[in-house]
Amino acid sequence: MIENSSDVVVIGGGVAGLSTAMQLARRGVSVTVLEREQIGNGSTGRAAGLLGQLRGTAEHTRMLMDGVKIVQELEEQAGTEIYVQTGSVRVAETAEREKEIADLVEMGRSIDFDIAPMATDELAKRMPYMRTDDVAAACWCPTDGHLQPAELAAAYHKVGRDHGVRYETSCPVTGVLLDGSKARGVETPRGEFYAPILVNAAGPWSHLVAGLTGTTLPTAALGHVYLTTQPDPDHPVDRLSPGFRNRHHRIYGRAENGGLLVGIYAEECAEYDMETLPPDFDMSAMKARRDDFHLAMLIHAAQQRFPWINERTPMHVTTGIMTFSPDGLPFCGQLPDHEGLFYCSGFSGHGIVQSPVIGVIMSELILGNRSTYDIASIEADRYWGVPGFQERDEIEQRCHKMQGSYYGRLEGKSADSKTDTA
């Protein structure tokens, strides 16, 4: 065997690439993962990992429910706790959001997903640190929770390695080698790596990696921010307190280290031009300015539901970059222009919780099988050649708009049934 040659090269050592590599290796495929920085150092290392299994379609819900099973197996194999089952609540304060919750309960029940309305006094009992006097309706999903991103990445890494995956860190991909229109390998500062199948799981960089073969991938790199309060004896947050979503204020969160984690999908967010960032840009070193506008919006929104949080609350602020697609769903599979070039990107803030099943789907696609899931909604070619999704500025605009409407729009029966829920 030629040195640096394997069946598959995965570009990107975040959860998407790591899960794909692990699943392929389990199926006897030789895999090399190339990571520009360190394993799990990009969006993976900045993620909150909230798991809300109830999605806009039954199939997406099934994918996430199966993902939990995969994670539970991983926990045994890696000997670590990844899934923290806390249950989750959604709260509504307006009539339209109340209707949304009623619709979700109905939809969840129709596909046997464990969901029930929750009375306000019960809500107040479970989350005494939350304002509930203005809550009109709430629902409770006992099987939800969150995945611990670092532990998940480490488990993929460990189990993958046990199955022979090779990981190269500090190894950015600078070129793609083609044989006609067929993938042959990649160039890196550490030499060439050969494989007939390449997986672009480069997160916010994936459209740049796609650009190496002149391919348009409609993803955009958007900023995201969440805060984690330091433990406050006046507002203790039990480790197993429910995760929450409050779409009216556009916030989500969960317990973290005795404090409360709160993030926002605001109407506006920062945009990043990955091309102009330094080649050795390190996402884990990102931090918010004291006068960061998006952080201020987050603090303001968090304060509406948790009045004890303000700009002087001792807190840790996490900023990072998410890879958004125009419809909030990932791109999985090949595009028509090259053979052997697979995409696995655009998770729009849900990469952690989608990654377990995405690894399975990617390995099925790569091994030439039909997926056991209905993947029409996440197929990589759904915007191929579609006018309005080809130029960088229009792609960025659409992705930005998607981010803004993520929590802004209404769900349920009255909503557009094709779009997914958060």
Binding site: A154, T169, P278, D282, R289, I299, H300, R312
Partner: protein
């Protein structure tokens, strides 16, 4: 009472730094700048003074920087400073000359108190506050970890290597902020919006009647090389194999 808070614009120390081609300074392309974290503590302390003992205090943020320094003054304004003054200056200045410019600003503004960071995180000089106090002939309380007003001045806790030193200084005074003085706030949404309307005044060394005469010149810079290349290992066995591979241990 007026409180003057000198604010320095510094490269964010958490990013990876490179040198320019001549190795005379850090490469400023794609560099992110922030308000010197110790100066943010100084701003916070001034805000606390206004919120507790001196509601009439006027807080003025001042910076000696190129035009872009306005961004970091904006941070101070968004946190709650009342107005800002930018002494526009493109060239590198040593601490003595920065102190001369600040002294000229003090002459003009007549504050009772100057609070600033004990040092800037870029050059770590830890000089400007001391120089400024000397040039003004004012009291100085450096490395402050607690500041209290008394009838006749300030009672200041100073963090020294030997322990906390408690001193009393008369006003006017220069106080330099240490890390534990407070936890600076983030700017609130209303405060950011309000800051857009707050005035920033621009001046120059010339207008202040100061001709910078450098005493210290930066000759060259070198990066400290740490060959650190972290890799996660998940078992002791793997660690030993790695150590053998890199010949840290043999056999």
């Amino acid at each position: 009472m007026k409180i003057l808070v000198p604010c320095k614009r510094v490269p964010d120390p958490d990013q990876k730094l490179r040198l320019n081609a001549e190795a005379t300074d850090v490469d400023s392309t794609a560099l992110t700048y922030i308000l010197n974290p110790f100066d943010a503590i100084a701003v916070e302390e001034a805000l606390c003074i206004r919120e507790t003992t001196h509601p009439d205090a006027e807080i003025i943020a001042v910076s000696v920087a190129p035009a872009e320094g306005e961004d970091d003054l904006r941070t101070a304004l968004a946190m709650g400073a009342d107005r800002a003054l930018l002494v526009e200056h493109d060239a590198q200045l040593d601490s003595w000359n920065v102190a001369r410019l600040l002294a000229a600003v003090v002459e003009r503004e007549q504050p009772a108190l100057v609070i600033m960071g004990k040092q800037a995180v870029d050059d770590d000089a830890n000089q400007t506050g001391q120089f400024l106090a000397v040039q003004l002939g004012w009291s100085q309380a450096t490395f402050a970890s607690q500041v209290e007003f008394t009838e006749t001045g300030l009672r200041v806790h100073r963090e020294t290597d030997l322990g906390i030193e408690i001193i009393h200084v008369s006003l006017p005074a220069v106080v330099t902020a240490d890390l534990r003085l407070n936890e600076p706030r983030y700017a609130s949404l209303p405060s950011i919006l309000k800051a857009k309307k707050k005035p920033t005044e621009y001046t120059t060394a010339e207008e202040l009647g100061v001709k910078p005469e450098p005493r210290v010149r930066l000759l060259s810079m070198e990066l400290v090389h740490s060959q650190r290349n972290c890799e996660m290992v998940t078992s002791a066995r793997e660690l030993i194999l790695k150590l053998r591979e890199t010949e840290v241990i043999k056999g």
